[in-house]
Symmetry: C2
Subunit: 231 residues, 2 copies
């Protein structure tokens, strides 16, 4: 094989770390590989990028085929291209993460793998390929991003309580000390883009909390006034 040919004996893929928030914890959606290499192992959902497909579109496609969801938050994180990261050839992969609302979709592993399901982040262990490293990068990015942009809301239903929101931040940030309840509420409400609904939480065995929602228009105003989201 000539050198010029060998330049083209390569492929690129996308891998998508799909985050969800469930039972007070961060979860990720994994597939179980149905074919070699790493058959039977859990892995990040991903696929080769089609010749006429943009990278972002490939990441969106992987997500949609698996969950049926479109228009969710998606962010490119990092590209992994070690020579030997894929046992069958030179494949560089562009890692993305996305944020979805758990429960609003049906998981369809068929197109990808033997099976697919949500895993608590704390229980994820040995993944195929270099997917643990990819996951680490995406998690690190999420931890940073969630403090500087209103991403948390992507993981919650449209209406949520302030306690749920705080629980989400506590879980994602995983700080040695939890956030202070009073200070958290003060800060997030002072930004002025959470709107109180007249509805209350239902089905809880205690005083129900007010439901709030994220108002994107008010958030834009907040930005236009020169403020920045910062938690």
């Amino acid at each position: 094989m000539s050198e010029i040919e060998s330049f083209f004996k390569s492929a690129f893929s996308v891998d998508n770390v799909i985050f969800g928030f469930d039972e007070g914890e961060l979860n990720i959606l994994l597939i179980q590989r149905g074919a070699a290499p790493y058959k039977g192992k859990w892995a990040l959902p991903g696929d080769l990028v089609y010749p006429n497909e943009d990278l972002d579109a490939a990441a969106e496609r992987v997500l949609e085929q698996l969950t049926g969801l479109r228009g969710v938050y998606l962010e490119q994180v990092k590209t992994f291209g070690s020579v030997n990261r894929h046992p069958l050839g030179r494949v560089i992969t562009v890692a993305y993460f996305s944020l979805v609302k758990v429960g609003k979709h049906i998981i369809n592993p068929a197109s990808f793998a033997q099976s697919a399901r949500w895993h608590k982040l704390s229980e994820v262990k040995d993944l195929a390929f270099d997917h643990n490293e990819i996951l680490d990068s995406c998690l690190k990015r999420l931890k940073r991003k969630v403090r500087t942009a209103p991403l948390g809301f992507e993981l919650l239903p449209p209406k949520f309580t302030l306690s749920e929101l705080q629980q989400l931040y506590d879980s994602v940030l995983d700080l040695p000390k939890k956030l202070d309840k009073r200070n958290f509420r003060k800060k997030i409400l002072s930004m002025g883009f959470l709107v109180e609904s007249d509805e209350l939480q239902e089905g809880v065995a205690h005083r129900p909390a007010k439901l709030y929602s994220f108002d994107r228009v008010k958030y834009e105003q907040f930005l236009n006034e020169g403020y920045v989201f910062d938690l």
Copy 2:
């Protein structure tokens, strides 16, 4: 061509935004393309990634071939993969930026291009391919990173004055108001990893300033004590 073949009719490259600081301004090192497409246009230095070469190594190689420098700060930023970004075929490119000390090297365009030279960032205009977009991403990343990690020192000689350092931050951050001299000095010195040398600035027609240097060991201690760099 079968579908599987077409997956492999693609290549990947790296492009490197090489930042330097000269005459009080941020500069970048550009090459002038010696061949089609975009012959004669200024472009970011870059190259196809060799079949047995890691991505980071490719970015380092591009930098070394152009400047002779090794071991400089290098950071992967983002991967650009629009289907039509390269007129000759599907090429996705991984963008990096690096930070070098201007003047400590000789530029050798031969291996890459017709010519290569430093450009003031403010004078960079229409680059080849999607390189303006790549530059924007790298600049944005640099602006963020320079506030949260001690990267500024990579752009300065080993010994520098506090005014030079501040000038660098003013230039990179490009804020509506310059930093306050007293507050800047207070803050950066309070972090405790700049060490005062007994040397003074030379060749200036006014009171010479003390020279300082960045002490990496003290910076590590600073981090280990739980502090973070933040300007």
